[in-house]
C-alpha cells in the first residue's frame, strides 16, 4: 500500500506542472487585461504603465511564468491583482461556504438517491422503476440556473419559507445558516442525486446477479435482507467513487449556484477572477482546485482498493 501511495503521489507532480502551465497560458491568452478592467472609468496611461510595472505584467510571458513558478515552489501563490490580498487567504476564506454547500448537497442527494435507487433496483423494469428513474432524471435534465430560479420563486418569494440569497455560516448560526444554504443545496443535490440514483441502481443490479446472492436466495433469505445487506455492501463501491469525484468537482464547480444565490464561495471567486483577468487569483485558485480534485481522487482510489480487495493493485 505504501509503495502504491508513493507511486501515485510522484505521478501527481507532472500533472500539476501541466495544470500550472495550462492555466497560465489560458488566462494570459484571454483578450483584455486586468488593469483596464480595474480602471474602468478612469483610464490614465501613466498610472496603467506604473501598475503594469509594479505587478510585473510588462515582462515577457515566459518570464512571468517562471517568476510565478519560482514563487510557487516557495509556497507563495501570489497576490490578487484587484485587492492585493494573498491568494491563499482569499481562497481560504471562501472554502468554507463552498465546502458546507457541497456537503449539504451530498447529504440531500444521498437522502434522495438511496430510497430511489434501491426501489428501482428491487423493482427493476416495473413502472416503479421507470418513474423512479424519470424522477431522478429531473435533476440532470434541467439547467442548474433554471432549477435555482424555480426554487427561489416557489420557496423564497411565494411561500417565504427560505431566504432567497446570501450566506450565513451554519457553524456560527446553525438555524439561519442551514436555511440560507437550503435552496442552493437542493439545487445542487437534485443533480447529484440523479447521478447517484442511477449509479446505485446499476451497481445494485449487478450485485444482485452475483452468485452469492443466488445462493442466499436459495437458502431462503428474504429479498429485502438480500438487498440491504448483501447487495448494498458491494453496490456501494461505485457510489463512493462517484461521490468522491463529484465532491472534488463540486467545490470549484458550483459556480452557477453560487452566483445565483449570491454565496461567497470558491466557484464564484474563480469566475469573477476570470472576468476581471485577475491572473494570480485565477492561476492560484485553479491550481488549488486541481490539487483538491487530485487528492480526493487519490482518497477515493484508496478507499476503493480497501473496500474491494480484487482491485488493489493495478
Amino acid at each position: 500500500m505504501g509503495r502504491f501511495l508513493l507511486g501515485r503521489l510522484i505521478a501527481v507532480i507532472p500533472v500539476l506542472v501541466l495544470v500550472t502551465a495550462g492555466v497560465f497560458l489560458l488566462i494570459h491568452l484571454t483578450p483584455g487585461d486586468p488593469i483596464d478592467a480595474m480602471m474602468a472609468e478612469s483610464v490614465d496611461p501613466g498610472v496603467k504603465a506604473e501598475l503594469s510595472r509594479q505587478l510585473g505584467l510588462d515582462q515577457p510571458i515566459h518570464v512571468q511564468y517562471l517568476r510565478w513558478m519560482g514563487r510557487l515552489l516557495h509556497g507563495d501563490l501570489g497576490r490578487s491583482i484587484r485587492n492585493g490580498q494573498p491568494v491563499v487567504e482569499d481562497v481560504g476564506r471562501r472554502i468554507r461556504p463552498s465546502l458546507e454547500l457541497a456537503l449539504l448537497a451530498m447529504l440531500i442527494a444521498l437522502l434522495v438517491a438511496f430510497p430511489l435507487g434501491m426501489l428501482s433496483a428491487a423493482r427493476r423494469n416495473t413502472p416503479v422503476d421507470g418513474t423512479g428513474t424519470a424522477f431522478a432524471l429531473i435533476g440532470i435534465c434541467m439547467p442548474n440556473f433554471l432549477i435555482a430560479l424555480l426554487l427561489i420563486f416557489l420557496f423564497g418569494v411565494t411561500l417565504r419559507w427560505l431566504p432567497v440569497s446570501g450566506y450565513t455560516d451554519p457553524l456560527e448560526d446553525p438555524v439561519n445558516g442551514l436555511r440560507s444554504l437550503a435552496l442552493p443545496a437542493i439545487t445542487l443535490g437534485l443533480a447529484l442525486g440523479a447521478v447517484i440514483t442511477r449509479t446505485l441502481r446499476s451497481s445494485l443490479l449487478e450485485a444482485l446477479s452475483e452468485d452469492y446472492v443466488r445462493t442466499a436466495r436459495a437458502k431462503g433469505v428474504s429479498e429485502s435482507v438480500i438487498l440491504s445487506r448483501h447487495a448494498l455492501k458491494n453496490g456501494l463501491i461505485p457510489v463512493i467513487t462517484v461521490l468522491g469525484l463529484q465532491l472534488g468537482g463540486l467545490i470549484g464547480g458550483a459556480v452557477i449556484t453560487e452566483y445565483v444565490f449570491a454565496l461567497p464561495g470558491v466557484g464564484r471567486l474563480v469566475v469573477d477572477a476570470v472576468f476581471a483577468r485577475d491572473y494570480p487569483l485565477v492561476q492560484g485558485v485553479v491550481l488549488l482546485i486541481a490539487v483538491g480534485f487530485i487528492v480526493t481522487n487519490l482518497a477515493v482510489d484508496l478507499v476503493y482498493g480497501w473496500l474491494d480487495p480484487r482491485i488493489r493493485y493495478r
Binding site: P31, G32, A37, Q54, R94, V157, V164, G166
Partner: protein
C-alpha cells in the same frame, strides 16, 4: 401642523410611507421652489410629519462587489456608493445638482486660476484625527502623486496646494477649470485620514476603519458577502441624521434574485430596477419605487480610425437607419429618454432645442451611395453580454437590416470590452458612461483628441477648442452655449449613435424613510431612517 396629528397621516403605515416618499420624489423632480428645496436639506421636519427614529440596520442590495475602499485608487462606479456614506467630499450635490458646502464651508475664486476653500471646523476622522488644511493638502498631493492614484486625471489641473491657515487652503491651477468644483463633490474631493494612510498603507483598500469623516464608519468587509458600516455618533453635521445604526451592503449579482430578495423582505434597498421589472415593481404594494433621473449616457461609438467607419457618410447612414424612439420604447420601456447628445436632461447644460436623431431611410440610401456602398455593407458591434444590451443590439440589428446594413453582434465580457475600446480594436462598440455632475465629465475625456477614453478616435480641432474653452469660462450660461455648440458638432461628426439617457429606478421597502434621490445615482443614507 402638529407633528403626528394630521388626519392625513393615519395608522396605515404603507399609505403614510408612500405619501412621505412621494413628497421626497416631488422635491427631487424640482416641483418645489428652490427655496423650499434648499430648506429640505436642512429641515426635513417642515415636511415630514413623523419624526425620524434612530436605529435599525439598512440592508442594501447591489449588482456587483465593490473593488476597493480607497477613494483615491478607485476606478469603478459601485465603490462610490459606499464612499458617499463613509467619506465626505469637500463639496456636495443637492437634488438640483447644485453645489453645496461639504467639508468646505465656503469657497471663493479670486481669479480664474485660484480656488480658496475655507474648511469646516471641528471635524474629526473616525480614528480621531483632526481634519484641517494640512490634511486637505496631504489628500490632494496623494491624489496627484501616488503611483497608483486613479484621480490624476481629475486633479491634473492642480499645480500646487497652499495652506493659508489652519482651516484655509488655496488650490493654484495650471489653467482655469470650471469643472473642478463639481469634480470635488465625488472621489476627487474625498478626504482620507493621513494617519490611516501612513500606518496602514495598501491595506486601506480592504480595511477603511477610521479612514473617513462621513456619517457612517467602516466596520468590516467580507468579500462577495457584505460590507458593514455603523453610525458615526461624532459626525460633525448632525442636522439631518445619521439615524441608522448600521448599513449592510450585499452584492447580489443576479437581478432577478435581487428583486426577489427585496420582495421577500431580505433586503430593504435595491440600487437599480431593470426596465423589464419596473412595471411589476411599481404595481407591487409591498415595495416603493423611486425614479431617479441619472446623469448617465448610453451610446454606441464608431471607430474613426479604421474601415468602415473612417468614412463619415457610412457613419451617418448607420445613425439615420436607427430608430432611437423605438429602442427607448421597446427595449428601455420608457425608463429613460431618447438621447440628443452626451449631456443628460438633469444637467443645467442640457439643451432641449437640439433634436434627437430620427430615422430616415431615404437619407440612409443617399449616405450609403455617398459612402460608396449603395447596396449596403457589413460591420460588427462589440457589446457587453448584459440581457438588456443584447436585446438592444438585436433590435438595432433588425432596424439596420431593413435599411440594407448588416450588423453582426459580438458579445464580450466587461474586461474584453474595455480592452477593445481602449485599444480601438472595434468597429462599433457599446458605451455606457455613468455620468458626472458637470457636463465636462460627460464630454472632455471622450471627445478630446488623443485621450484614452476617446474610443472613437475623433480628432476635430473645433471640438478640442470648445472643450478647452468650456473649462476656462466660468459663467454657466456661456458654458451652456459652448456645450450646445459641442453637441451640434458631435451630431455633425456622427461618431456616436446616442441612444438613451436612462432613468435609474431604485426600489425600497416601505420601512425606508427620508431618502433623498440625487441625480448622480449615489445613495446617501445620512438622512434615512427605518420605520
Amino acid at each position: 401642523m402638529d407633528v403626528g396629528e394630521s388626519p392625513g397621516l393615519d395608522l396605515n403605515a404603507r399609505g403614510a410611507s408612500r405619501r412621505s416618499f412621494l413628497r421626497w420624489c416631488a422635491a427631487a423632480s424640482g416641483a418645489l421652489t428652490p427655496a423650499v428645496a434648499r430648506g429640505l436639506r436642512g429641515a426635513p421636519e417642515a415636511l415630514a410629519q413623523v419624526a425620524p427614529k434612530r436605529g435599525g440596520t439598512l440592508r442594501v442590495g447591489f449588482y456587483i462587489e465593490a473593488a476597493t475602499m480607497d477613494p483615491h485608487l478607485s476606478g469603478s462606479k459601485i465603490d462610490r456608493q459606499v464612499y458617499h456614506n463613509l467619506y465626505d467630499p469637500l463639496l456636495v450635490l443637492d437634488v438640483k445638482l447644485g453645489l453645496q458646502p461639504g467639508l468646505a464651508e465656503s469657497w471663493t475664486q479670486p481669479d480664474g486660476k485660484t480656488l480658496v476653500f475655507k474648511l469646516q471646523r471641528g471635524v474629526k476622522f473616525h480614528d480621531g484625527t483632526d481634519f484641517n488644511a494640512e490634511v486637505a493638502k496631504f489628500n490632494f498631493n496623494r491624489m496627484r502623486t501616488d503611483p497608483k492614484s486613479v484621480r490624476k486625471g481629475e486633479t491634473a489641473n492642480i499645480e500646487s496646494v497652499d495652506v493659508v491657515d489652519s482651516h484655509t487652503i488655496r488650490l493654484n491651477l495650471r489653467r482655469p477649470d470650471a469643472s473642478l468644483l463639481a469634480a470635488l463633490t465625488d472621489r476627487a474631493g474625498m478626504m482620507v485620514s493621513p494617519k490611516v494612510v501612513q500606518e496602514r498603507g495598501p491595506d486601506l483598500e480592504r480595511n477603511a476603519r477610521g479612514a473617513g469623516t462621513g456619517p457612517f464608519e467602516f466596520v468590516e468587509w467580507v468579500k462577495d458577502d457584505h460590507i458593514l458600516l455603523k453610525r458615526n455618533d461624532n459626525y460633525w453635521n448632525k442636522q439631518t441624521g445619521p439615524y441608522l445604526d448600521q448599513i449592510r451592503y450585499r452584492p447580489i449579482p443576479d437581478d432577478t434574485v435581487k428583486l426577489a430578495s427585496l420582495q421577500s423582505g431580505e433586503i430593504d434597498v435595491m440600487d437599480y430596477v431593470q426596465p423589464r421589472d419596473v412595471a411589476a415593481v411599481k404595481a407591487d404594494k409591498k415595495v416603493v419605487v423611486v425614479d431617479v433621473p441619472s446623469l448617465a449616457q448610453f451610446a454606441y461609438v464608431m471607430n474613426h480610425t479604421k474601415p468602415p467607419f473612417n468614412n463619415k457618410a457610412l457613419r451617418q447612414a448607420v445613425i439615420s437607419a436607427l430608430d432611437i424612439d423605438q429602442i427607448v420604447k421597446g427595449v428601455w420601456l420608457g425608463v429613460g429618454v431618447p438621447s440628443n447628445g452626451p449631456i443628460p436632461p438633469s444637467s443645467w447644460a442640457y439643451d432641449s432645442t437640439i433634436p434627437t436623431e430620427k430615422r430616415d431611410l431615404v437619407k440612409v440610401k443617399a449616405k450609403l451611395a455617398e459612402g460608396g456602398q449603395p447596396s449596403g455593407f457589413t460591420f460588427s458591434v462589440t457589446t457587453n453580454n448584459l440581457p438588456i444590451l443584447v436585446q438592444e443590439a438585436e433590435v438595432m440589428q433588425a432596424q439596420l437590416a431593413e435599411a440594407g446594413i448588416t450588423m453582426k453582434i459580438k458579445l464580450v465580457d466587461a474586461a474584453a470590452l474595455l480592452s477593445d475600446g481602449n485599444n480601438k480594436n472595434h468597429e462599433m462598440i457599446s458605451y455606457q458612461w455613468s455620468g458626472r455632475p458637470d457636463p465636462d465629465g460627460n464630454t472632455f475625456q471622450f471627445f478630446k483628441t488623443g485621450l484614452p477614453l476617446n474610443w472613437s478616435g475623433i480628432s476635430n480641432p473645433k471640438i478640442d477648442a470648445l472643450l478647452d474653452k468650456s473649462r476656462e469660462v466660468s459663467d454657466r450660461n456661456e458654458r451652456k452655449k459652448i456645450f450646445s455648440d459641442l453637441t451640434r458638432l458631435l451630431h455633425e461628426e456622427a461618431s456616436m449613435a446616442f441612444i438613451v439617457h436612462p432613468i435609474e429606478p431604485k426600489a425600497f421597502s416601505p420601512r425606508v424613510q427620508g431618502y433623498e434621490p440625487i441625480p448622480d445615482g449615489m445613495m446617501r443614507f445620512k438622512s434615512v431612517w427605518l420605520k
